[in-house]
Symmetry: C2
Amino acid sequence: MKIGVFDSGVGGITVLAELKQRLSSVNYVYLGDTANLPYGSKSPAQIETLSIRCAQMLKQKEVDALIVACNTASSLALSAIQTVMAPIPVFGVVDPGVQAALGALNLISLQVDPVPILVLATRATIQSQAYGKSLRNTFENGNTFKNRNIEVFEQACPLLVPLIEEGWIQHPVLDQVIQEYVRPYLKEFKKGVALLGCTHYPWIHDSFQAALPGWQVVNSAWAVAQALERSEFFKTAQKPDEANVGRVEWMFTDPKALPEFAKKFIQNRNARDSILIQPVLNA
Amino acid sequence: MKIGVFDSGVGGITVLAELKQRLSSVNYVYLGDTANLPYGSKSPAQIETLSIRCAQMLKQKEVDALIVACNTASSLALSAIQTVMAPIPVFGVVDPGVQAALGALNLISLQVDPVPILVLATRATIQSQAYGKSLRNTFENGNTFKNRNIEVFEQACPLLVPLIEEGWIQHPVLDQVIQEYVRPYLKEFKKGVALLGCTHYPWIHDSFQAALPGWQVVNSAWAVAQALERSEFFKTAQKPDEANVGRVEWMFTDPKALPEFAKKFIQNRNARDSILIQPVLNA
């Protein structure tokens, strides 16, 4: 079995890492559209055009399923990607993230009413309102939340991806910037659920948790790996031989545009990985 | 007369503002390649491809001269742009910035020897070494610096553009980030010349000056406007009628991808400007 992971850049590596941990019996193709990153600052029309082009590349690679790790593409171009890939199943990160956030309600005392659910993501993801809409729909149509109320907040955190890509992960500036973003919510609510809706944020999950003591912090990168593992598709699909699994084929639309920290991550790979960095430059 | 200003995004607005101040007797066409920003994270090959496409758009607009406001394009694609535009004159920002930095040597006491010249720019500009090479060449071939020595340093400041675009211009985090970048040089040298080699940096010129007390801070956005004003081309070119000048035609490859702060700038325009925001989406 070969699973495709698509991201606008390198953030999807967090999703791939989680997938490999949970689903070691499959091979992976990772496609990062580094020639066009970041999607977060582009318009919906252009995000759809670029996502379709990437889906076509992955279809040619004959993947058995596709994970859209990019939150922006999941929010704005999922159905366009599904049309290209059909009948191959496509998993976005938004719905699994929403399931994880609502699942975390069980960990919050019934005395907290309503429970604040704070979505933290890039500006494009927040502006798409994909998480907010999915949270409200799923909550209203679910049977398990009868005795709860939620209040959804969405906060764009556009400075975090640059800080992470620069490697300022242990830097006091990172904590200050996170505090600036969460302060208004923390002031109003002592407990709640924070949903990290950006592939880069698992790298700073602990910093979010430190900035939001008393809150449950969940992230959609981990959630989508869990969703795939539990899916009917995965349970019934044929797995490859043990000797031939766990490989990652790396594709970047502009391999020269890889951030330094991502190169290190790819080089520190599992010895079993067979790595092919493949330029697919858009003319 | 119609002057084209090309930038990867909106930073070139600082160059346009300076041009309009100095050269009010001309019309302008501004082209921001917002569909593909930022150039700073792309590979040299892709930067050249994108720059050529933009030069072709501006040639069709029949500009009389072109300012390449984008430092990344000036550093990596100037000759490709010149080939497309010939015989129309093309001005990059690197050489004017270098002239301004070397000119500032006169303001530094002879007791400072060598004089440190610190180039501050995005990662792509620094990696191109365009400023460093031009500084050393111009210095070695100049006659006016015989009694001086210089030492060139280049520092990438990749977090500053995101902070500026987010409007964190008066924020303590901005000052902290600048201090982090300049600290090693300030520790070694009490006086020197700092050359701001990024179109966004004029917006935070004062913060750089505050972080580098005793240093001369020059920026290439202002320098290129001065270079055009002093050029043979400008002195001999025919000027338009007074009634018909100072207009700016705005073009963006993706007008929906404009940062909020840039929209505000364009809306707070001089009443004489005739503004046309023109979508030129790349398919």
